[in-house]
């Protein structure tokens, strides 16, 4: 961004530091992936073994015996649905707060304050609510009973909306108003203005919010563990089946974790391009 002629030395220093930071960030995950290819006798040994005959048994164990793809399918469905709900509802609400300042900040404050209540104290009321909705035929049909995906989708939507709204309000406010006024003058209805002008401009904000909402849903443990049993269990609950009476099955749990990282990384790479493209389109030259 600063077009100052950067000397070669600072470039080397910059990339050196970046490599160092990335090494610190990536190493634990790398060690996890390495462990996922290790046969059991090479895992818990000292000194740690770097050279070993790689095996795919851990993946076979994770996928077939522990049926881990089922948990990933569940988590994908629940996380993506929640993220879509959060981003849509959040973007609409955030736009309203950013432009019309509904409630003069008090509603915004209330929304964020709902995030300040510890999940542990909330978990039992949710459990009782979803148990009762599960008893009704409508509830079961809509899938909002216990051990049904609907229960987790509502909980995750509720838990991530405050974060999404606050993040999006700041992104919406960075968008200059003139573009909207001119679009309105051209006779576009409000919803068209939103869809055609405002949202494309706020693309980076929406993409970042979408990515992190998905991450929060993907990693959540407490609600998933209490509100599901088997049919709707997510990855974080599925990992428990690797904690056995004979101890932690390090190889298979590493394999399961490595598999569960892939969809998330694919989504980030997808959103990556979208975030960058959004940038160049907007008033800001890249």
């Amino acid at each position: 961004m600063l077009q100052r002629p950067t000397s070669f030395a600072t470039e080397v220093l910059r990339y050196g530091l970046i490599v160092l930071v990335l090494a610190f960030i990536v190493f634990p995950i790398l060690w996890m992936v390495v462990t996922s290819f290790k046969p059991p006798q090479d895992v818990m040994v000292s000194p740690p073994r770097f050279l070993f005959t790689p095996t795919l048994d851990n993946y076979v164990h994770a996928i077939w015996e522990k049926n881990f793809l089922f948990y990933i399918k569940n988590t994908l469905f629940i996380s993506v649905t929640s993220t879509v709900l959060v981003v849509v509802a959040g973007a609409l609400a955030a736009y309203s707060f950013a432009r019309y300042n509904v409630g003069d900040g008090h509603i915004l404050f209330f929304i964020l304050s709902t995030k300040m209540f510890p999940a542990i104290a909330v978990i039992l009321p949710y459990f009782l609510i979803f148990r009762d909705t599960g008893k009704t035929a409508v509830g079961r049909f809509l899938g909002v009973g216990l051990d049904q995906p609907g229960a987790l989708i509502i909980s995750y939507t509720m838990f991530n909306l405050p974060f999404a709204i606050w993040l999006l309000v700041s992104f919406f406010q960075d968008i200059p108003r003139e573009l909207e006024h001119s679009a309105r003058l051209d006779g576009l209805s409000r919803m068209k203005v939103l869809r055609k002008v405002v949202f494309p401009l706020a693309a980076p904000g929406i993409a970042v919010t979408g990515v992190f909402t998905l991450i929060f849903c993907w990693n959540e443990f407490l609600f998933a563990y209490i509100l599901t049993r088997k049919t709707a269990s997510t990855i974080t609950v599925g990992v428990e089946s690797f904690f056995t009476l004979q101890g932690i099955l390090w190889g298979p749990v590493a394999a399961a974790a490595t598999i569960s990282v892939l969809p998330m990384m694919a989504f980030v790479l997808l959103m990556q391009r979208y975030m960058v493209r959004g940038l160049t389109f907007g008033a800001v030259r890249g």
Partner: protein, 451 residues
């Protein structure tokens, strides 16, 4: 000869419609009664799957097994019980949880179910049955897996002439399986060596430790300390429901003397950490340790050259006794089938299958079965003989911790003061006093003991 016998047995069971009106053949999948069993994942999940399909063959039932992490099993099952969701028909309880679940009406008494199956009940090891199945005069289920504690050690170190001579010179008595906790500590001190020292004549490439301890933030440190406490004739709760502070302090002091000879990781691990250390040839012996881990420990003979594993009763013949109890949830919609399932899994045939897969059975008939005493099956069932000795020596033993309805809550939080002392944050006295005040807070005064 054997084949005919089995054929006869199968024929007789088919004739005697022992279980359920609809015989297994006529049952198609549509009208199978679904029951859910919440339990802990384990090596034996494949053996378990065989057992479950064995049951489904005989009864018109569909069993689905829900695997839960051992540290979450207690809270998850209580929530489902309190919510009366009927989600779990058969639950898996630890020894300390039976009293609470029975007292609060979470599980159904099975006394009359077993009224006409006296033989099956008596087959359960009496010491174990008293602790796991009985509460206030009723029978509440059957134990299907026991983690009773004993003592596991590197026998090759004990038989090494150079080590024996060095030990005799230093301590004045022969190096052998310890019969008192003091001998156990001497052995721990003797085998603690630095990298570069000699062990069995060879130079050590990494530090070696005299004992492996489970001093991590898990509810296992109290299992280890139970051995010392009970061998002093004390118990975690006196008969009037209070913690004997002096006895606990003494047991804690003994433990602290041992922590010096344990690897630093002892403060962060539980039984699987100790097993990893044993299999990597880092420790010489365990403290009072769960014998169901024997098949796990014996693999040390492959991972450490020249190693040979030994198993014995814990010093002074007192160690933690416990097992996983199968009980029927009060909110179950199919209690009859659930009870049949409990009786089947805790019964002779299933337990034989379970033992063959390396599971530690709870029935005297299985534990004393000659086919498990053979050298070939040593790797899987070498510890059965020791278990029989333990059950015999501790006959009639009862602990107040397992007979108070607050047992589960105490058991799931008592490790905190004990571990704080092991980590050196507080003294043994403070730990004992902290435990006493915690227990009093949990029970709201002295704890009620319901024999």
């Amino acid at each position: 000869m054997k084949q005919i016998l089995i054929a006869g047995a199968v024929a007789s069971t088919a004739l005697v419609a022992t279980v359920g009106a609809a015989s297994a053949q006529a049952c198609n999948d549509a009208d199978r009664v679904p029951i859910t069993w919440s339990t802990i994942a384990g090596f034996y999940t494949d053996a378990m799957a065989k057992l479950v399909s064995g049951f489904e063959a005989k009864n018109c039932v569909k069993v689905n097994v829900v695997n839960i992490d051992n540290s979450q099993l207690y809270n998850k099952q209580v929530i489902e019980m309190v919510g009366q969701t009927g989600a779990y028909d058969v639950v898996t309880l630890e020894t300390s949880e039976k009293a609470e679940f029975a007292e609060n009406g979470f599980i159904l008494p099975m006394t009359d179910y077993f009224a006409d199956k006296k033989a099956q009940l008596d087959d359960v090891a009496p010491t174990l049955a008293a602790l796991t199945t009985q509460y206030k005069g009723d029978v509440w289920g059957l134990p299907y897996y026991t983690y009773t504690a004993g003592y596991i050690y590197r026998a090759d170190l004990f038989d090494d002439p150079t080590e024996q001579a060095a030990f005799k010179a230093k301590y004045g008595y022969d190096l052998a399986v310890p019969t008192t906790w003091a001998q156990h500590r001497d052995i721990a001190e003797f085998f603690t060596r630095k990298k570069g020292d000699k062990l069995k004549g060879e130079e050590l490439t990494k530090d070696f430790y005299g004992v492996g301890l489970m001093a991590g933030p898990f509810p296992e440190i109290q299992d280890e300390m139970s051995g010392v406490l009970w061998s002093q004739g004390a118990d975690w709760l006196t008969d009037d429901g209070k913690v004997p502070v002096d006895a606990v302090e003494k047991a804690m002091d003994d433990y602290l003397k041992l922590v010096k000879f344990a690897p630093p990781a002892a403060l962060t691990v539980t039984y699987d950490g100790v097993m990893n250390q044993m299999k990597d040839g880092q420790i010489a012996q365990t403290y009072s340790f769960f014998l169901d881990q024997w098949p796990n420990a014996v693999t040390t003979e492959q991972s450490v050259p020249g190693a040979r594993m030994g198993v014995a009763e814990a010093p002074e013949k007192k160690a933690y006794i416990g097992g996983f109890l199968l009980a029927v949830s009060a909110s179950s919609t199919h209690p009859k089938e659930a009870m049949d399932f409990v009786a089947y899994i805790g019964g002779h045939d299933a337990q034989m299958e379970f033992a063959k897969a390396g599971g530690t059975s709870t029935l005297m008939s299985v534990l004393s079965d000659p086919q498990f005493a053979t050298p070939e099956s040593r790797a899987k069932t070498g510890h059965f003989a020791t278990l029989l000795k333990i059950f015999d020596d501790m006959k009639g033993f009862r602990s107040n911790l397992f007979d108070t309805p607050f047992g589960a809550k105490i058991y799931n939080t008592m490790q905190i003061p004990l571990q704080a002392a092991a980590a050196g944050q507080i003294t043994a006295r403070q730990a004992a006093e902290q435990l006493a005040s915690d227990v009093e807070k949990i029970c709201g005064g002295p704890c009620p003991i319901g024999k």
